[in-house]
C-alpha cells in the first residue's frame, strides 16, 4: 500500500503546485497586516485564513488529479481490478490531501514560531486550525468527486474552484466556512465546528466510495442500485448541511476571563490575557489621558477591553482589531460618556452639539496617541476639521485646555442638562 501511495505522490500533478501553495500560504500569512503575530487566537485564525486562500486552488488541483482516469483512458484497467475502486481512489485522494496539508502545516509552524516570542501563555488554538483543515478537506473531496464523475478537462476544474470561492464568500453565520480574524472575545463553537468536519468527512467518503458513472449496460450494479447509491450520497450531504444549520453559529462569545490582564497604573486597563502584547501600548494611552489637566473630564477608573468584564452591555469596552489603532477612539468615547452623560438631543440641537462634541473626541484620541497624528486619523468624523485638531494638539497645554473648555461651554450652552 505504501509503495503505491509513494508512486501516487511522485506522479501527482500537485507536486508541481506544492511550491505555489507554500508561497501562497506564506504570502497570505505575512503579506497582510501582521497584527496577528503574538496573539494566539489571531495567529490561529490567520493560519486558517491563509489555508483557506488556497482551498479553491486545492479543489481545482484535486479535480485535475482525479480526472486522470478520463484523460488517460485507464478506465478498463480499473474496471477489471480485483481491488475495490475505493482503494485506488482513497490513495489518490490521500496523496492530494498530503500535498495540501504540507503548506498548511508549514504555515501553522511559521505562525507559531513568529508568535512565540511576543505572545503570552498558550499556543495556537486547535479549533481554528481544524476549521481550516475541514475546509481544505471539503474542497479537495469536492474536487476529487467532480474529477471522477465529470469527464471534461477544464470545465469541472473551474466549476469546483468557483464553487469553493462562492462558499467562502457566503456570509451566513450558520454556514460560514471561514473566519477572518480571531479576536479573543469569540471562539468557535465545538458543535458547529464538528458539523463542518462531518460534512467534509462525508464528502471525502463519498468521493472515495461512490463509483464512477459507467456507460449504460457496462456496470455490474443495476441502474437502480447505482441511483440508490447516488441518492444516498446526496441525502448524506443534505443531512450534513442541515446539521450545520442546526448546530448554530460558528462563532460564539467566549466567557469572560477568570483573571483579566490589568495594568498597575491608574486608570487601569484590563485586557484579555491573549492580547498581553498590547498591554504596554494601551496602558500608555490610558496614562496619557490620565495626565490631562484635572477637572476637564471624568475618566473611568478602569478601561476594559470588550468582553473582559462580565455583565457589561455587549458592545461596551474597546476592541483590539488589527493592533491598537481603534483603541484611542474607544478610550476617548469612554471618557466622554462619563463627562457628557447621554441625553436626548432634539433634531435641531444635534448638529450644533456634535460640531462641538466630535472635535473634543478627536482631540482626546490624538492625545491618547501621544499627540502624534496617525495617518489613519487624517479623515476624522464628518464635519470635523482635522486641520484644526492638528493645530490644537501642537499648542501649549494651557491653550489646549482653554480650547476644550470653550467647546464644553458651547455644549453646555446648547443643552445644559447634557454636561
Amino acid at each position: 500500500m505504501m509503495r503505491i501511495f509513494s508512486s501516487e505522490m511522485r506522479a501527482s500533478p500537485l507536486r508541481w503546485w506544492l511550491p505555489v501553495f507554500v508561497a501562497l500560504d506564506i504570502a497570505m500569512l505575512f503579506g497582510r497586516d501582521p497584527s496577528w503575530i503574538g496573539v494566539w487566537p489571531q495567529a490561529s485564525a490567520a493560519v486558517q485564513l491563509a489555508g483557506h486562500a488556497f482551498a479553491a486552488a486545492a479543489a481545482a488541483a484535486a479535480t485535475w488529479s482525479s480526472g486522470r482516469e478520463h484523460r488517460t483512458g485507464v478506465t478498463d484497467s480499473l474496471a477489471s481490478s480485483w481491488r475495490g475502486r475505493w482503494q485506488a481512489d482513497g490513495l489518490q485522494l490521500a496523496s492530494t490531501l498530503l500535498f495540501i496539508a504540507v503548506p498548511y502545516a508549514l504555515g501553522a509552524a511559521l505562525a507559531a514560531a513568529t508568535s512565540l516570542r511576543e505572545a503570552g501563555p498558550g499556543f495556537l488554538w486547535p479549533r481554528y486550525l481544524l476549521l481550516g483543515a475541514s475546509t481544505l478537506l471539503l474542497s479537495a473531496s469536492a474536487g476529487h468527486l467532480a474529477g471522477k464523475l465529470l469527464p471534461g478537462r477544464v470545465a469541472p476544474t473551474l466549476a469546483v474552484a468557483g464553487l469553493v470561492v462562492l462558499l467562502s464568500i457566503y456570509g451566513s453565520p450558520r454556514l460560514e466556512l471561514v473566519v477572518l480574524s480571531g479576536m479573543p472575545q469569540v471562539e468557535l463553537a465545538p458543535l458547529a465546528l464538528g458539523s463542518r468536519f462531518l460534512l467534509a468527512g462525508v464528502l471525502a467518503l463519498i468521493a472515495v466510495v461512490l463509483p464512477g458513472i459507467a456507460p449504460k449496460g457496462e456496470a455490474w450494479r443495476s441502474r437502480s442500485r447505482q441511483a440508490g447509491m447516488t441518492g444516498s450520497a446526496v441525502l448524506a450531504v443534505g443531512s450534513c448541511v442541515i446539521a450545520m444549520t442546526a448546530a448554530g453559529p460558528l462563532r460564539v462569545n467566549r466567557p469572560a476571563p477568570h483573571t483579566p490582564l490589568c495594568s498597575a497604573d491608574t486608570p487601569r486597563v484590563c485586557l484579555w490575557p491573549d492580547n498581553a502584547k498590547y498591554l504596554p501600548q494601551v496602558a500608555a494611552m490610558a496614562s496619557r489621558l490620565a495626565a490631562l489637566p484635572a477637572g476637564l473630564f471624568r475618566p473611568p477608573d478602569t478601561f476594559y477591553e470588550r468582553g473582559v468584564l462580565p455583565g457589561r452591555p455587549p458592545l461596551s469596552g474597546f476592541l483590539i482589531i488589527r493592533g491598537v489603532s481603534s483603541v484611542p477612539d474607544a478610550l476617548a468615547g469612554s471618557i466622554l460618556e462619563r463627562t457628557l452623560p447621554l441625553c436626548d438631543l432634539t433634531e435641531s440641537d444635534a448638529p450644533a452639539y456634535f460640531r462641538q462634541f466630535w472635535p473634543i473626541h478627536q482631540w482626546l484620541s490624538v492625545r491618547a496617541y501621544g499627540s502624534r497624528f496617525p495617518a489613519f486619523m487624517k479623515g476624522g468624523p464628518p464635519g470635523v476639521d482635522m486641520e484644526e485638531i492638528y493645530n490644537v494638539v501642537h499648542r501649549p497645554e494651557a491653550d489646549q485646555t482653554a480650547w476644550v473648555k470653550a467647546k464644553l461651554a458651547a455644549i453646555k450652552a446648547i443643552r445644559p442638562d447634557c454636561v
Binding site: 509503495r3 506522479a11 478506465t75 481490478s81 450494479r221
Partner: protein, 252 residues
C-alpha cells in the same frame, strides 16, 4: 482438463446495439488467437472475459466459477490479466511504478510483488527503462509496458487486445517468444490481432469472429485448410482467414 474461461450463448453490446449474439467459446491453456475484421466483436468479447462489462445474456465462467455479479467478478479478477485495446496509462508513473500499480490492482500478494514486477518487466525487455516515466516511452515501449502490466504475477487467464500494435518486427518476434513462455507455464492467453502471421506463428488455436458471431474455431492448420482456391491473401493462413470470412461461417 476444464477450460480456464468459457462463455455460453453470450449476448453483449453497447447502448442499444448488440455486438455479440449467441456466442459460445471455451478458452483452454495455451494461446488462442482471435481474428476478425473491425467491428466483429473481438474487443467486446475480451472486455467481457475481463469482467469489465457484464454479459447481457448467457453465462461467463472463469476458472470454473460462474460470474453473475460484481462479487463473483471480484473473486476471479486475481486470475485475469488484461491489456485493453486503448491502453491507458499514467504518464507521470515510471514503468516500475505502473506495473507495481497494476499488480496491486490485481491483488498480487505484497510479499511476491517485487519479484513479480521485475520478472514481468524483464519478460518484455524493459529492464533498462524501468525508471523511465511512461510519457518518455515510444509507442512500442508503452505497448510492452502494458503487456508487462497484464502478465505481472502470471495470472491464469491473460487477455491481450492488439498487443503487437506499434511493435517493430524485432519486438514482435520477442513478443512471440514471450507467448511461448506463457504457454509453457500452462497459462491461457487470448490475443486479439489483425496480424494473421502472428497467429500462425504462435497460437495453438484460432477463433475468427465476424458480425458478432464466431465463424471459425479450430487449429491454425484447419484455418489454412479452409482456404478456397480463389481466396485473396499472401499466405496460406491469410487465404484461409479470408475464405472463412467470405463464407460467414457456412461450411466450405
Amino acid at each position: 482438463m476444464a477450460s480456464i474461461a468459457t462463455v455460453s450463448d453470450l449476448r453483449q453490446g453497447y447502448g442499444r446495439r448488440d455486438v455479440i449474439r449467441g456466442l459460445d467459446l471455451a478458452v483452454d491453456a495455451g494461446v488462442l488467437g482471435l481474428l476478425g475484421p473491425n467491428g466483429a466483436g473481438k474487443t467486446t468479447l475480451l472486455r467481457t472475459l475481463a469482467t469489465v462489462a457484464p454479459p447481457r445474456e448467457g453465462l461467463l465462467k472463469i476458472c470454473g466459477a460462474p460470474v453473475r455479479s460484481e462479487r463473483d467478478a471480484r473473486k476471479v479478477r486475481r486470475q485475469i490479466g488484461y491489456l485493453p485495446q486503448d491502453f491507458g496509462y499514467f504518464p507521470a508513473f515510471t514503468v516500475e511504478d505502473f506495473v507495481h500499480y497494476c499488480a496491486w490492482l490485481r491483488g498480487v500478494p505484497k510479499a511476491s510483488a517485487d519479484v513479480a514486477v521485475n520478472e514481468a518487466i524483464e519478460c518484455v525487455n524493459l529492464a533498462d527503462r524501468r525508471t523511465a516515466k511512461l510519457r518518455s516511452l515510444s509507442g512500442g515501449m508503452l505497448r510492452r509496458c502494458g503487456i508487462a502490466a497484464a502478465i505481472v504475477g502470471f495470472p491464469r487467464l491473460i487477455l491481450l487486445d492488439e498487443p503487437t500494435a506499434g511493435l517493430d518486427p524485432a519486438q514482435r518476434l520477442e513478443f512471440r517468444a514471450l507467448l511461448r513462455m506463457l504457454k509453457r507455464r500452462g497459462l491461457a492467453v487470448v490475443i486479439s490481432t489483425h496480424l494473421v502471421e502472428d497467429v500462425a506463428a504462435v497460437c495453438d488455436t484460432v477463433a475468427v469472429m465476424s458480425g458478432g458471431r464466431l465463424v471459425f474455431h479450430g487449429l491454425p492448420d484447419e484455418l489454412v485448410r479452409a482456404a478456397v482456391a480463389d481466396a485473396v491473401g499472401d499466405t496460406h493462413i491469410e487465404r484461409g482467414y479470408m475464405s472463412v470470412l467470405a463464407r460467414g461461417g457456412r461450411p466450405a
